[in-house]
Amino acid sequence: MVLKLGIRLAVCALSLMVIATGSGILSAAGRVSSKPEGQVHSQKAEFNPRGQVLALSCTSCHGTDGKSAGIIPSIYGRSAVYLETALKAFKSGARYSTVMSRHAKGYSDEELRLISEYFAMISHNHK
């Protein structure tokens, strides 16, 4: 029992550390994007690991890298602003959906921003 408790606590401790790690990298990413545009385009942008994990959930329905093969809309190639606006509209219910609003409500605005940035970055890196 004690061991089990220890493991559960350790896991939770880890998740909190993880969140802290994520935000550190996030601020680093923020600095990168404030550089002049030429410099940003000359290199592959680094992924925020938390954004990556969040975004992996989307690809099951929207396709690998957000490239959809069927009726579900592609995310790939969309700008971060477009995606963030759409996700927030699904979250608030302002935009009609069958299932997207049920998903979008599961994320904080910050998480929706990370997801949007991740897909925009994939599209940018593939260019």
Partner: protein, 430 residues
């Protein structure tokens, strides 16, 4: 025991350095900054194939071997569409060609017979041995054959298919339906929770009814359930009344639904209310983690595998990640979608662990579409996060298709179900 801890105690423990020791949980490779990065994945279903693909996609320096005996994988999702005559077996067949050629995954067509957790090796039926730095185990489900008297693997393969592994079992049940007389009785006998694909038996009843209504309209379907309620219950019941009035009868466990015995010779099922004869009998037995999980000692008393929800690493054997139906993943259902989501989270965690870094906090998701008729779809969605209580569903999110959804929305959901299947299949095997 955990419940007795206050949040304050919990925070104190965090500060007193438990967090540091948490890294020890992730096994040898983490501290060693492994010079080799070899991952063996056992099982090529939604969980294993997604983990293998995303390991290679997220870090091409990792060598990935996928061990799967079947050259063609038939998915359980959409196998009910085959039973309803809406899809063919070919439509639900997937191969490992793209994973092999595009993602450079070493596909080994073999069966793992044992895992040596100390040496970090798996032994194959052929006698070959594979070494790993990290192992991903995604064996899916196995059946508790003794959960219903008179039922067995040989009965399943001859008279009363379970069709809860897609493939020959799907074909057998489909043939029986095609051969049945008009006016026949189809019995579907779902197990108690937890089991693979909670809405599956009820989608099956719907799509069998779709076939029968068109071809054998005097027939009837009786669901003998070991449960008191079931997934998407109100949506299914409303749909059945609208689409197949009088055709589908559901009996709860307490109302003569719980099957204690079957007789394959007489084609009967026995419940507390008596013995009933069916023309086609689909028995879905109770389930447990796939065999290799038991053989390797990865299961606990529940019959499923306890895992660390950050990385899906086994809490019993470090260095081994268990994903999909075989794992106990808190509030997540046992579904192909959940397995795929877990496979990707585990892959991302393994990549970070090989780099000596802490994995990102997991975010998990599930979406299950059920079809009641070609233009009548419903869904359940869930978003999951890690808390002190383990993996929990985020209350503000997820949920069902609204009970008052209009026909346009139901038609849209049916279309999205097809779009979903196409993309998740490609995200996993393509």
């Amino acid at each position: 025991m955990l419940q007795k801890l206050t949040r304050r105690d919990f925070n104190k423990l965090l500060l007193s350095g438990v967090a540091g020791s948490a890294l020890g949980l992730f096994g040898k490779s983490n501290t060693a900054f492994a010079s080799t990065k070899r991952v063996v994945v056992i099982g090529g279903g939604f969980g294993g194939a997604a983990a293998a693909k995303y390991l290679r996609k997220l870090d091409p320096s990792i060598a990935v071997t996928l061990v799967e005996p079947k050259a063609i994988f038939y998915t359980c999702p959409f196998s009910n569409w085959v039973l309803g005559g809406l899809k063919t077996m070919e439509d639900i067949a997937h191969t490992y060609t793209v994973l092999k050629n595009k993602y450079q995954i070493n596909i080994v067509s073999d069966v793992v017979t044992s895992i040596d957790v100390t040496k970090g090796t798996v032994k194959l039926k052929s006698g070959n041995v594979l070494s790993y730095d990290r192992l991903v185990v995604s064996p899916g489900i196995d059946f508790k054959w003794d959960s219903i008297g008179g039922y067995s693997e040989s009965v399943a393969n001859s008279k009363m298919p379970h069709s809860w592994h897609a493939g020959p079992q799907t074909i057998l049940l489909h043939k029986q339906l095609l051969g049945m007389r008009d006016g026949g009785n189809v019995f579907i006998c779902p197990p108690a929770n937890p089991f693979r694909c909670p809405p599956g038996p009820y989608e099956r009843a719907s799509l069998i009814a779709y076939y029968l209504k068109e071809h054998k309209p005097k027939s009837k379907i009786i669901i003998f359930d070991a449960k008191e309620n079931f997934s998407k219950q109100e949506l299914f019941k409303k749909g059945w009344e609208r689409l197949y009035p009088g055709m589908i009868e559901w009996r709860s466990s307490a109302m003569g639904g719980k099957v204690s015995r079957v007789d394959a010779g007489a084609m009967t099922v026995t419940t507390e209310f008596g013995v009933e004869k069916g023309d086609v009998i689909n028995v879905i037995p109770a389930q447990k983690a796939g065999k290799i999980a038991f053989d390797a000692g990865l299961t606990d008393a529940t019959g499923w595998c306890p895992i660390n929800p950050v990385s899906f690493e086994s809490t019993i054997h470090p260095g081994i990640h268990v994903i999909g139906d075989a794992s106990f993943a808190g509030a997540m259902p046992k579904s192909g979608f959940a397995a795929s989501s877990q496979g990707k989270v585990a892959a991302a965690a393994i990549v970070r662990l090989f780099q000596g870094k802490v994995p990102a906090a997991p975010s998990l998701v599930n979406t299950c579409y059920s079809l009641l008729a070609p233009k009548y779809g419903i869904s359940v969605a869930g978003v999951y996060k890690l808390t002190v209580e383990g993996i929990v569903e985020i209350k503000e999110a997820g949920g069902l298709t609204p009970i008052n959804a209009d026909d346009d929305q139901l038609r849209e959901e049916a279309l999205f179900a097809e779009g979903w299947y196409k993309n998740i299949s490609l995200d996993t095997w393509g």
